[in-house]
Symmetry: C3
């Protein structure tokens, strides 16, 4: 079965939206925000990175504004997490959250790089746009919660997104099939992120 | 008298600009910023939400850049507030500020929703754009002042803007006259906001 | 020799990119960020202001995305600063940093105002865009590091950028030659900034 490029972008984008909206809603609940704040943070984490990417590559209005499925999905996910909040006292261990987060990061890095390429953005900038799509929502969440974005002070996170997006850019340059390239890019990001968590890999530090 | 759509957007936008610029200038003075910082915060609170909206709906350059009346109005208001700062030691009670703020919120929510609709944005996204126009400037102010945006932790504020914007979207869908729809939307937001303040209404909280 | 407008913008932009990327990388190292965080902050400080300007004046994708020289230059500078970090323990005194920073501010203020004018933006907004290009990267750096932007609380900084950009706008209105106008604008900003530092000039304060 041949899977078209548009379908790859759409599926990765929608799946990443659900994962990141859930994560954002949980983070907002832990900070004691009310239902509205939870919905806003879910929306921002899930769609913030893609909206910045779309504005920068000139694809306005961004998908999150033009296509009602994105905001509805983010809000329904936020609502679902809020409704299940009693269960969450016990349920998701750090491991579950970390795997979910790595999955969302991988999906967005791939979708972001593919979309930038399909808008005629050059290879270096397309890889950066993939990374931005992956980490942008989390950065906006941390800015809204008035703390230094985790990705700036912590271990290999954005680097994994950049690696995944770079695999996508390289694969598309070599004219490999869309679905295979997307899969390889997502696996690169996902495995690199989880391995970094598991083995405590870090980049060289400051002074 | 028939009032055209463009005139409704323009009047609501300009009135909201004055109200929010005054509020931003007062907030900046209370934080001890100098004259320049006061002007920047007045500009950001008054025009930040509309600029983000315009970038997202593809109406670039934003009105605040293309139309010199917006920045001039924001700066003159900031200057006026600064000039009258001795009087402000005694003058505006919390009630006055809250009513002014609710008025600005209502005006921007209506203008934002109308403008998004007039650019062909769908109903859900148009309501969100109305809300964003109303609360965006305040969020940018809080981000610049390095604190968690009030709308995320406090009571019914953005929800009132969303309600007002939704009334506008629904009214335009039903092809009701522009001025009546705008008035109904603004009153919805204004009354909801003041009632929430008066009676201490809150949304359900987090964990 | 006649120097064209495009060349003036390009040279000022590239030189400002190197200066600001170096400054951003040093600030990130002092906060203990890892190599990736250093690269991000170098990129943001060097290219953040220009990207916001380009999005606002409708020049998307922004130069920083469309032209690979900008990101490559910012990253190489960040890498160079990181590689030389042992030397930096002793090397740059506050004076060197302040002069570098004033140079970057002047270059960006001029380039930003020229570019806005060349996209048909009106004079007031073009001067504001020049200022935004100069200070935008630093504001984004401070927002990411979760502190109140220095320009809002400190002495004459953004005002110097605004003055330099205004000289450019006025000179271009009078149809003076591009290189002379750019030089006069840059010198205005540079001297004003350094004089303010040297003599402790301040704007009138808040309450």
């Amino acid at each position: 079965m041949r899977i078209g490029l548009g379908m790859v972008i759409l599926c990765a984008d929608l799946a990443g939206t659900v994962v990141f909206a859930a994560e954002g809603a949980m983070a907002a609940m832990m900070r004691g925000l009310d239902l509205f704040g939870i919905m806003v943070v879910a929306f921002v984490v899930a769609l913030g990175g893609g909206m910045i990417r779309d504005v920068l590559i000139g694809a306005v209005p961004p998908s999150a504004i033009r296509d009602w499925r994105y905001p509805v999905l983010a809000f329904l996910t936020g609502l679902g997490v809020f409704a299940c909040r009693r269960m969450l006292h016990v349920a998701p261990g750090g491991h579950v959250l970390a795997v979910l987060d790595a999955a969302g990061l991988s999906l967005f890095a791939v979708a972001g790089a593919e979309k930038a390429l399909s808008h005629g953005i050059g290879p270096l900038a397309a890889a950066l746009m993939g990374m931005l799509t992956g980490v942008g929502g989390g950065v906006m969440r941390d800015v809204l919660l008035a703390r230094v974005p985790l990705i700036l002070v912590s271990d290999i996170y954005a680097t994994a997104a950049l690696a995944g997006a770079s695999v996508v850019v390289a694969g598309r340059r070599l004219a490999l099939p869309a679905a295979a390239v997307a899969g390889a890019g997502a696996m690169t990001c996902f495995c690199l992120r989880l391995a970094a968590l598991r083995y405590g890999w870090r980049l060289p530090g400051g002074m």
